[in-house]
Amino acid sequence: MSTSDSQQTEDLVAYLDGELNDDEASRVEETLTDQASIRQDVEKLTRVWELLDMLPEPKRSANFTERTLSAIQTQRAQAEADEADTRPLATDQGHHWKTRARKIALRFAAFLGLIIVGSAGFNGAFRRDTGPMDQLLNDLPVIERLDQYREAGSLEFLEALNDSRLLNGNADADNSDGN
């Protein structure tokens, strides 16, 4: 079918459907008057269109209206229930978030407290463990010479002995060995 034929068929169909304006309809009518073949085409198109009236008319089931309106009622009830559920839900959600935030804050505080207490406990324990050790380390020179100090008898004698410088050479030798 050529473009002009196609356009002519479109115009014929639109004419049959009453979709042309007055000028367009007049032109189609002139063509129909002049050309028998076009008239035959239009007649066939019309008869074919009328054949569609033979299509079976579907019958709806007897309770379709009732079922449909019932479905509408159900949907409306559901929507109202959802709406009712949504309102407290919003409050609950606010409450839920507050509760959750409070729980998080409490947990964080507890964790912080645990760290502080743990740290203090650790330090305390460390000090208890290292205190006697420090003392022992400080007292080590005395402990090493404890037998000699006991033989000396008294602190005053040892101080007098130290002041006399009689043992300075040995003392220097001992110090150099200790280092």
Partner: protein, 206 residues
């Protein structure tokens, strides 16, 4: 929608549509008005869906779904067309979605069909067309009805919908364009091709 912006007179024309008035009452909470719309359109919708879909049982389900969608949309309803145009636009969208869904299912089940992907076997085709090949055969009304139905089935989905809206809903090209989301020239062309196809199919029976 391809239609141009509505003029004041068009808006007034829509407001004069009694079904638009009913829908506005539905929007305002009048459920009785919705019942009137169901009564007015149920057979028309079921009729369209019965012809458009190849699943007869789907017609009522789809018609009901159209009404449910209309009801769900009631609160935000604004008349921008005749009520029927709006309703059949929803129907057209639903039918398109359902056809796509059915087509996907058929793709999956294609291997299990009796005839296979190459179409009917020769003996199946012969059986189907046997009566049509008999020369001078007189067709009774029931047989002719089947022939017409087959001819309608031979149209593609858009042609079929346009034909049904034009033939049985008496919708203008403008309204069909609005319902099917097409331009008016596209509807004119679609209907011309559809009627030409029908003529080819049915001419031997005229």
């Amino acid at each position: 929608m391809p239609a141009a912006v509505a003029t004041e007179s068009e808006r007034n024309a829509w407001l004069r549509d009694p079904d638009v008035q009913r829908m506005l009452r539905v929007r305002d909470g009048d459920d009785a008005a919705f019942g009137e719309l169901v009564e007015a359109y149920q057979d028309r919708l079921i009729g369209i869906f019965s012809h458009v879909m190849r699943e007869p049982d789907a017609a009522e389900d789809l018609a009901q779904e159209v009404f449910l969608r209309v009801y769900r949309a009631r609160a935000r309803y604004q008349p921008t067309a005749k009520f029927a145009t709006w309703l059949f636009r929803i129907a057209n969208n639903l039918a398109s979605n359902r056809r796509r869904s059915v087509a996907r299912r058929k793709e999956v089940h294609l291997k299990t069909t009796e005839s296979g992907p190459l179409g009917p076997r020769p003996e199946e085709a012969l059986a189907t067309e046997k009566s049509a090949l008999m020369p001078g055969r007189q067709f009774d009304r029931q047989e002719m009805r089947e022939v017409v139905r087959d001819a309608l089935e031979s149209l593609n989905d858009r042609q079929k919908m346009a034909v049904l809206l034009n033939k049985f809903e008496h919708m203008s090209y403008v309204d069909i364009a609005a319902a099917m989301d097409l331009t008016v020239p596209a509807v004119k062309s679609l209907l011309t091709r559809a009627r030409e196809n029908l003529r080819v199919q049915l001419e031997p029976y005229l």
